[in-house]
């Protein structure tokens, strides 16, 4: 029985591996880009802090944070704050498609930093957040 489980596990290993490689390829490229733009060491902790930080929207006065739409558990599906449209989980552990498309990552980081913080994120902040998401 144990042997059987082990074989199963070994068969699944390449699958898990390929997913994480796929996820890192796009992120690695972006991290390299951020580094050449002046960013230094990226930190999961700093990413996590930014993820949970609340910012006041200048127009509505309402508090906003990443979790407003994505919830505080990245393995859960989120919901668009305005329209309620479902958002797929960002955690690569449950959504292998997450962080694989470099264009998508660029687009959403730009839009969502502006929505949440009121400005574009710095290369350092973007790198921290991506590093954090990857660990989820």
């Amino acid at each position: 029985m144990n042997k059987y489980l082990m074989i199963c596990g070994m068969m699944l290993l390449p699958l898990a591996y390929s997913h994480s490689v796929l996820a890192t390829a796009a992120v690695d490229e972006l991290l390299a880009e951020y580094r050449s733009a002046g960013a230094t060491e990226f930190s999961v902790e700093a990413g996590n802090t930014l993820w949970l930080q609340e910012f006041q929207d200048a127009q509505s006065g309402k508090m906003r944070q990443c979790a407003t739409c994505h919830t505080d558990n990245l393995r859960n599906p989120g919901k668009h704050a305005r329209t309620g449209k479902p958002i797929e989980p960002l955690a690569t552990s449950v959504n292998p498609k997450s962080l694989t498309d470099i264009k998508k990552i660029r687009k959403w980081l730009k839009r969502n930093c502006k929505w949440t913080i009121g400005r574009e994120c710095t290369p350092q902040e973007k790198g921290n957040v991506l590093t954090f998401i990857q660990t989820q």
Binding site: K85, K103, K107, R111, W115
Partner: protein, 182 residues
């Protein structure tokens, strides 16, 4: 002979309904890029629900898209604007689009589909409790909350299901509100 007569009669009876169906239907969205870029945040509204002039203006102010940031890369923005304009209410042959255009003043450039006079007129008998006060609907902007087949381009009355209220029939509702008045 008898069979074909029955068929003809059936067709003659059914034809007006078919035509009526056509009046409440628009060409569905088949552009995958549009579905992806616009439809990931909200219902992918069919281009024939707004005139070209509206799409043109809307697409140049995506940084403030009704309070949301919906910025696109320049080339994506151009491609999607071209798509929307080529199938807009004034470019389309959809009967519903023609009707919507007919009611719209020439000097008006509505940015919301809910500002289209035809749409306002079509929804004016629906009580607030079913839309704005209905937590599952909230606004007329969310077409597909009640128009269950909206994605396929159907806005037919038979496909309407209002969350918490079910089917919508204009006549039945009017009678109910008259009863309320007594």
């Amino acid at each position: 002979m008898k069979k074909s007569l029955t068929l003809t009669v059936a067709l003659l009876i059914y034809l007006p309904y078919l035509a009526a169906d056509d009046n409440e239907r628009v060409t569905p969205v088949r552009n995958e890029q549009y579905k992806e870029e616009c439809g990931s945040c909200h219902f992918a509204y069919q281009p024939s629900l707004l005139p070209s002039r509206s799409w043109q203006r809307l697409m140049t102010q995506l940084e403030d898209h009704f309070g949301e940031n919906a910025e696109l890369e320049a080339n994506t923005q151009k491609t999607l604007t071209d798509y929307l304009i080529s199938r807009s209410a004034n470019s389309s042959r959809d009967k519903l689009a023609t009707k919507m255009m007919r009611r719209l003043a020439k000097n008006k450039i509505p940015l919301r589909i809910t500002e289209m006079p035809y749409l306002k007129h079509e929804h004016d008998k629906i009580p607030d409790k079913m839309v704005t006060q209905n937590t599952e609907v909230k606004s007329l902007s969310y077409c597909d909350k009640c128009h269950t087949q909206a994605e396929s381009g159907s806005y037919l009355e038979k496909d309407i299901r209002i969350p918490g209220y079910g089917q919508w029939e204009e006549k039945a509702e009017r009678e109910e509100s008259e009863k309320d008045d007594d």
